[in-house]
Symmetry: C2
Subunit: 206 residues, 2 copies
Amino acid sequence: MNQTAGTTRIQRRNTAAITEAALEVFSANGFRGATVDQIAKAAGLSKPNLLYYFPSKEAIHQHLLATLMDTWLDPLREMDPEGDPMEEILAYIRRKLEASRDFPRESRLFANEIVQGAPHILPTLEGELKDLVDEKAKVLSRWMEEGRIQRVHPYHLIFSIWSLTQHYADFDVQVRAVLGSGDTDPFPEAEEYVITLFTRMLALKP
Amino acid sequence: MNQTAGTTRIQRRNTAAITEAALEVFSANGFRGATVDQIAKAAGLSKPNLLYYFPSKEAIHQHLLATLMDTWLDPLREMDPEGDPMEEILAYIRRKLEASRDFPRESRLFANEIVQGAPHILPTLEGELKDLVDEKAKVLSRWMEEGRIQRVHPYHLIFSIWSLTQHYADFDVQVRAVLGSGDTDPFPEAEEYVITLFTRMLALKP
DNA sequence: CGTGACTTTGACCGTTTGGTCAAATGCGAC
DNA sequence: GTCGCATTTGACCAAACGGTCAAAGTCACG
């Protein structure tokens, strides 16, 4: 694998194909459930060829998690401490719901990882993630103290946003099985419901 | 394996040890991540001995899922159509939260299964689960029509209860990583938060 | 067109995995 | 105690797995 600054056209094409294929396979089967052959086939490469670009199955997985972590946290980062509290929170919820709709594989990749005890990314959870949540929880607390939204536990508020939004990606099969008529998109109703829920919880009673 | 009515003492002891061990191993590693040797060791048996009681790894998994499905649905079954709406819903939430606290492995077993597309229990989701939810959604709808709780989408109301309560079992590692101080039990605060959330969403404005 | 670096591959290896089997051992009823 | 059945085990197997390697093929560039 090329170590120098130069990245060739083929390198870019193949690493892209590998990460795409790995996302597909890891998110559907978990780390141990995925095989290198599966990923290679999905990427249109032979197994040794794939291992020419990544040193190991573990390395592909780590690379995916690291790359996607930012994508996953950005919606929260964008919550503006200077904006209108209710608008900021609802906009955050909408962004997370969009992410669940548009990137369900990414969501399931993390779900798989965390359900099984986060063996590969526990340090990131305790570091980067905790720091970001600590910061945003302070903002939420300030908004509550200023009387601009109702007072609730700020950390659990964030947990509940994660939980409700990611549910529609991670448990998509269950949602569709229960709703029946697998064709119809559950997201519009989900958005209306979740927005209503947080509005009623956080809005001040006039 | 004994096919007749008689079940020996040893059979009961060993099948119990196997299901307990399998729950531990499957919930922590997923189906493909778990090995028969691991389960056998955890059950205090040799691998061939374990396979004397269950014909295959798949069979143990199926048996676990089937056995646990009822445990998992019972809290919802108990919701009384004749009771007070708000009390019934809040009691259901408390039961689900208790289940997440007391049976996190069961929750993670289902989470693993569903995140990966429910390959082993999709029929059950579309049958037994859907039927139960359909029935209870009707009850919720009636309560709303009678003006005893606020009007929201009944199916998404149930989804949100599942999502919020099971989050504390399935994503326990993340919750603890973000809250820091891994010793303290997050459940009391979680219960207060979740109960507040649903109370504010569903209570009628006086 | 030639050359050196980049890319691809088939054959291969050691390990792990789910599962089998015949033989050995243990147990309980008579 | 002994007989029949239940239980347990070590040895074993074929397939699947992650990964290696030397050799062959291909690309870009002077």
